[in-house]
């Protein structure tokens, strides 16, 4: 759970940096997209260590494995918790539990559902709303995020993702043994907030800019 979660957080950070290339311009963003897929003239990322186009598939397999293992661990933990907790309290009051900690499971399901839509939209291109984009990722992104409700959907989704990370980041380090004192706990929680906020701002600034026409206008 912890290790796969941290892999996914690292991926998100990288994804966010990539997205921010939208601000530099169409060429830069498109080049980046093609470079990842090994479609650029220099053979793309990690060429010639790997044949052109291989990296993206290895990368996808690793991510998929992380997601699958993450979900598997979550399901195991959840089912153990359900088995360990056959009856519920008539009255229950939380003292320490944060909203993010409480919503890890249902929140996780919701964000996994939207993830499928997101992949269908931007990777498989099956659910594109704004229509054809002429093999130009830059235009595709511009098109999709010009729709106001699409930005809203992503804004909400990213709240879920970042809340998941707010608890997940701290929890992953605690599971790996880094919570060595009350002070360490405060620091880890502080970092978790920072990562969650950076991701939220970093991810949302681009779609918002598209919507308001600050990019690509």
């Amino acid at each position: 759970m912890a290790v796969t979660g941290l892999i996914l957080i690292a991926f998100l950070l990288m994804h966010m940096f990539g997205n921010l290339k939208m601000f530099i311009g169409a060429d830069s963003f498109n080049h980046y997209a093609e470079w990842l897929k090994g479609q650029t003239a220099d053979g793309g990322i990690l060429y010639p260590i790997l044949p052109a186009g291989w990296f993206i598939w290895i990368f996808r397999v690793v991510l998929l494995a992380a997601v699958v293992l993450h979900i598997y661990s979550a399901v195991t933990l959840w089912s153990r918790a359900l088995a360990a907790n056959p009856t519920t309290y008539e009255a229950k009051r939380k003292l320490a539990q944060t909203y993010s900690a409480r919503t890890m499971r249902w929140g996780g399901i919701i964000l996994a559902g939207v993830l499928i839509f997101h992949l269908l939209q931007f990777t498989v291109h099956a659910t594109l709303i704004a229509g054809a984009f002429e093999d130009n990722p830059y235009k595709m992104v511009l098109g999709e995020f010009s729709i106001w409700w699409m930005v809203l959907v992503y804004a909400i989704w990213m709240v879920a993702v970042c809340m998941h990370i707010r608890h997940g980041f701290w929890s992953a380090f605690a599971t790996l043994g880094a919570n060595t004192s009350a002070k360490a706990r405060a620091i880890l929680n502080g970092c978790a907030w920072a990562v969650a906020l950076i991701l939220y701002i970093g991810f949302m600034i681009m779609p918002v800019s598209v919507l308001f026409g600050w990019i690509g206008a």
């Binding site: 153990r80 088995a83 360990a84 320490a96 944060t98 009350a182």
Partner: protein, 253 residues
Amino acid sequence: MNVTLRVWRQANAHSEGRMVTYQVQDVSPDMSFLEMLDLLNEDLTVKGEEPVAFDHDCREGICGMCGVVINGTAHGRGSSPVPTTTCQLHMRSFEDGAVIDVEPWRAGPFPVIKDLVVDRSAFDRIIQAGGYVSVSTGSAPDAHANAVGKQKADRAFDAATCIGCGACVAACPNSSAMLFTAAKITHLAMLPQGQPERHLRVKKMLSQHDAEGFGGCTNIGECAEVCPKQIPFDTISQLNRDLIASLFKRDGK
């Protein structure tokens, strides 16, 4: 003062339970919560009804025998200004006329025996799995043979104050007994006497923890919040560190 209690009544492990409402009159604010239950029971007995069963013994907060969930928090932590056991919670923490919900610890590995009494023998079995130093009587070296730095001695002590009441499990949304297990792991891991069995101990105790049916830890922190002895939450990370280290040791393979 007078209070209204809604108490979980359950005849035995196999029967269905339900909340039953009772009025308790002439409660003194100086009474402990359990003395208030005594008052209810005296009243029920005189009326010929069966008194409410609840576990208790020392009534000074150290034996770990008592423990009920009061208004949704273990040992009534939510009503008390300080960490407490149920026996050290006093009625002055409640308003006159309050409605108070009283329930047993709820967790699969802690089946209800009757009313508010649960079976916590799973804790003993976790200790049996390795929560000790293997030193037979008479074979000990002089007490000063090993010096222990004050910092480690203090940390060992903080963890060793666990009274095994089970509030951590009762409060945990996963019904995990990780704080209990981690307290013992940390206590013995900090001391030189605990080193020879350190890695084997964490594997054995954790596997018994899982075998008992306790849930896994998701680092929520309810356990440490209700703990009457304030076992540090970071003991769980100590357990995790020892567990990770133990995966690279041959002990117990």
